[in-house]
Symmetry: C2
């Protein structure tokens, strides 16, 4: 009675791949594991994905889409500074998750050094989207150098996610949010006000 038993074979494969690839790595998880845990035969696997590599790319694109959906749910009246905070808060939340194991995209990049490889391409697409999203919100917040703000927040995100995968997720999350607060204050056009009690109901991590 697997939790994925009633899904279509392709979806079972994708869900199993997402779980195993993230938890154990891309090279470590073989096709045998995937088809066994997905309750699917090898023939079915290769009917839907011409190669394991394609499943990896599909896994990354799927995760990217989840994150984009979560960001898209931020209401329009929270554009700008508030959106930046919500996004970074959701990163801090991700670090604290029990099954947290770093950023799926950066982990994938570590396993695929060749920048021209499709897997790396998928990683860089997501990273570029995340940067652009932050840049837009920084511009909406009136930052004088939204590119720099976005680069900074991406750097903080990458550091929190990859460093947090080694341990002490609570402290990493706190350190991240404090750094965001301090640095946003320095980058903002006008001396800011509150920054105290924000409630977060956003989804997942970013780029």
């Amino acid at each position: 009675m697997s939790s994925t038993s009633e899904l279509a074979p392709r979806d079972r494969l994708l869900r199993t791949a997402s779980r195993l690839f993230y938890a154990e790595g891309l090279h470590t998880v073989g096709v045998d594991r995937l088809v066994t845990e997905a309750g699917v035969t090898r023939a079915t696997f290769y009917r839907h994905f011409p190669a394991k590599e394609e499943l990896i790319v599909a896994y990354l694109r799927g995760r990217s889409q989840e994150i984009r959906n979560a960001v898209a749910q931020i209401p329009a009246h929270r554009r700008g500074r508030e959106a930046l905070l919500l996004i970074m808060q959701s990163v801090a939340e991700d670090v604290r998750r029990a099954d947290f194991r770093g950023c799926a995209f950066l982990n994938a990049a570590a396993e695929y050094p060749d920048p021209a490889h499709p897997v790396r391409r998928a990683v860089e697409e997501h990273h570029a989207w995340f940067f652009q999203t932050l840049r837009d919100q920084a511009a909406a917040a009136g930052h004088t150098d939204p590119d720099h703000t976005a680069r900074l927040l991406v750097l903080l995100r990458d550091g929190a996610l990859q460093g947090g995968a080694l341990g002490s997720p609570d402290r990493v999350g706190d350190t991240l949010l404090k750094a965001v607060n301090d640095l946003l204050a320095a980058a903002e056009p006008t001396g800011r006000g509150d920054a105290a009690g924000h409630d977060v109901h956003s989804g997942t991590q970013g780029g």
Copy 2:
């Protein structure tokens, strides 16, 4: 002739492993590649290292030692704030290197999810040493919360190294150093002015 041809077989293996593991990943590089490029036979390989895993650990320990040696060369009269800047500047330099491919330790952690695995242990040892080093220097610089300063700088380092591996190393290096400047100013005991037009709000350091 190979540049490593006159070294002892063990050193040739370590040097080759360091180059290949960093450039191409741990799982990707097999024993065949290692012995071929090191000009060593398989028997010699297994005479010096009981398993490939041991070579990986030796590779990580070697790289850690190189970094510790470099930090140890910082003269005593530069302890504190100056040492912190020197260390972070060397990180920024690393990102700009032509063969840069991210942090060897974080990349290794991405390939070895099990925290109890010897490879992960080696990664966390280095990470812990680096944190402690920054903490000591932050304390020497008189920071009120040297632990937080160290956590912050570790986070910035991780983000610069892993994010920088995806592209635009110059900008990542600049972003890192600017963030270091801004955040060190906020964390230092005496409000040292200027840096780059920021305002230090001295009230937010509690907790």
